[in-house]
Amino acid sequence: MGSHKITSRTPGVFYHRPSPDADPYVTQGASVAEGDTVGLVEVMKTFHEVKADAAGTVSAFLVENEDEVTIGQDLVELET
């Protein structure tokens, strides 16, 4: 068992869910495949999906919903 961190490819605001009233993309304990969407980053009024770049189980969200993030910041931790 190892761990892997999914990082942000752009600065902006991180969202756990596709829209304010929707369910989160993933929750702690969920298993994700490579390429699954785990969040959304808003940059300059455009939205970019954050994709898992490895398969695993979500062990932690490292950023709260609607928090500001920088480029390269760790967003989601996976147990691989």
Binding site: T10, P11, G12, S19, E42, V43, M44, K45, E66, E68
Partner: protein
């Protein structure tokens, strides 16, 4: 009454534009700012500034309660909304009115009417202003298919509460329409809080021409001629010019008269823009923007008016400083929007630090920007960072001046749309002024790898 102090409920270049107009009129300018903008030019140059909150737009410039609290605590007598953010939200304008302050713009009821596409179309019809053939709101997929038979394919499905080009989907057959209506209703519900949609005939390569109007509280309404804004990507304008090249005198007069009629019909107050699609000798009203427009400098160049100063005078209860006969359109002006986007990477936003900056200057050149060397372009707001506009006695000279100014313009540290503009000015359709709303996207598609 004349205004003595104004809260500027915006950021970036437009906030700075309003600060400058206030200072020239002797009005105290109060800025607002988020964490990311603590050192920003619009804050530094204002007389006073109120901190709103965290950087994200929803926690700062879009937080109506925080903006209203700033207005109350700073003792201003008016609020200027700029463009974007809260500028076209009727509830915000109404809250400003209820707080006993002057909203620099039309009454909240007018914003509400013009912000409702169906209501605006109905109003246009009653003012004898042509609208694109279309339907009323459609309640179901079957209703939409029936309505499309009347309107004629291809159609656009539009959200009644949409705006800024968002919430619009094309369909060229009944089968496609059945799918698109469902998607459009769902998207409209989540983006705009209402799933109401209607249909409009999709025109084939029209031009986007808009008319600037000014109206005071004494019943005076004038137009300030037109702007040609067809060069758009994903319905976002990138380059605008005035006057519209190739527009006949008869059509110009018809458009300007229609804009004034519509403004009178709705009881407009302030600066506003009536947008039309023009195809051949036909023109159709599409929407009215009830605020100052990004591209207002080109109208200021060709008319000599100061549109932001007019807004502030009107809000203070003064009559317009000019009558219709005093307003002439002289020479030609072009605006180039400088966005922090990478045209070579599908216009990916490019926030970051500006490590070096050289602005163009010389005769007939104006730069509206709040971006200074060493500033960081934050990722939280619109990508527009500057507007370069030029004026010259003729359109050919304005094009030459634009090329010259763009060659002087240097931004280091992040990609912008400056290079795109340089290439666009070599395009024959741009040089000839024959481009339409499909031109830029085809041009980009031909050049994409």
């Amino acid at each position: 009454m004349t205004l003595s102090s104004v809260l500027i409920a915006n950021r970036g270049e437009i906030a700075l534009r309003v600060v400058r107009a206030c200072r020239e009129l002797g009005i105290r300018a109060v800025a607002i700012y988020s964490d990311a903008d603590a050192e920003a030019a619009h804050v530094r140059m204002a007389d006073d500034a109120v901190h709103l909150g965290k950087s994200s737009a929803s926690k700062s410039y879009l937080n109506a309660d925080a903006v209203l609290a700033a207005a109350r605590s700073s003792g201003v007598d008016a609020v200027h909304p700029g463009y974007g953010f809260l500028s076209e939200r009727p509830a915000f304008a109404a809250a400003v009115e209820e707080a006993g302050l002057v909203f620099v713009g039309p009454p909240s009821s007018v914003i509400a009417t013009m912000g409702d596409k169906a209501a605006a179309r109905a109003l246009a019809r009653s003012a004898d202003v042509p609208v694109v053939p279309g339907s009323d709101e459609v309640a179901s997929v079957d209703d939409a298919v029936a309505a499309a038979e009347e309107v004629g394919y291809p159609v656009l499905v539009k959200a009644s509460a949409g705006g800024g080009g968002r919430g619009i989907r094309p369909a060229s057959s009944a089968d496609e329409l059945r799918e698109v209506v469902v998607e459009a209703q769902r998207e409209a519900a989540s983006a705009f809080g209402s799933d109401a949609v209607y249909l409009e005939r999709a025109l084939q390569g029209p031009k986007h021409v808009e008319v600037q109007v000014l109206a005071d509280t004494h019943g005076n309404v004038v137009h300030c001629f037109e702007r040609e804004c067809s060069l758009q990507r994903r319905r976002q304008k990138i380059l605008e010019e005035a006057p519209a090249p190739g527009l006949s005198a008869a059509l110009r007069e018809a458009l300007c008269d229609a804009a004034v009629r519509l403004s009178r019909e709705v009881g407009y107050v302030g600066a506003g823009t009536v947008e039309f699609l023009v195809e051949g000798s036909e023109y159709y009203f599409i929407e009215m923007n009830t605020r100052i427009q990004v591209e207002h400098p080109i109208t200021e160049w060709v008319t000599g008016l100061d549109l932001v100063a007019e807004q502030l005078r009107i809000a203070g209860g003064a009559e317009l400083s000019v009558g219709q006969d005093d307003i002439a359109c002289r020479g030609a002006s072009i605006e180039f929007r400088v966005n922090a986007e990478d045209p070579d990477a599908d216009f990916m936003p490019s926030p970051g630090e500006v490590t070096g900056l050289e602005l163009p200057g010389g005769p007939g050149v104006r730069v509206d920007t709040a971006l200074m060397a060493g500033d960081v372009v934050p990722p939280f707001y619109d990508s527009l960072v500057a507007k370069l506009s030029v004026w010259a006695p003729t359109r050919a000279e304005a094009l030459a001046r634009g090329r010259r100014a763009l060659a002087e313009y240097r931004v280091d540290g992040l990609p912008t749309t400056i290079g795109l503009h340089r290439r666009l000015l070599d395009d024959q359709a741009v040089v000839d002024g024959t481009y339409d709303i499909t031109t830029l996207e085809s041009w980009l598609a031909e050049r994409s790898p």
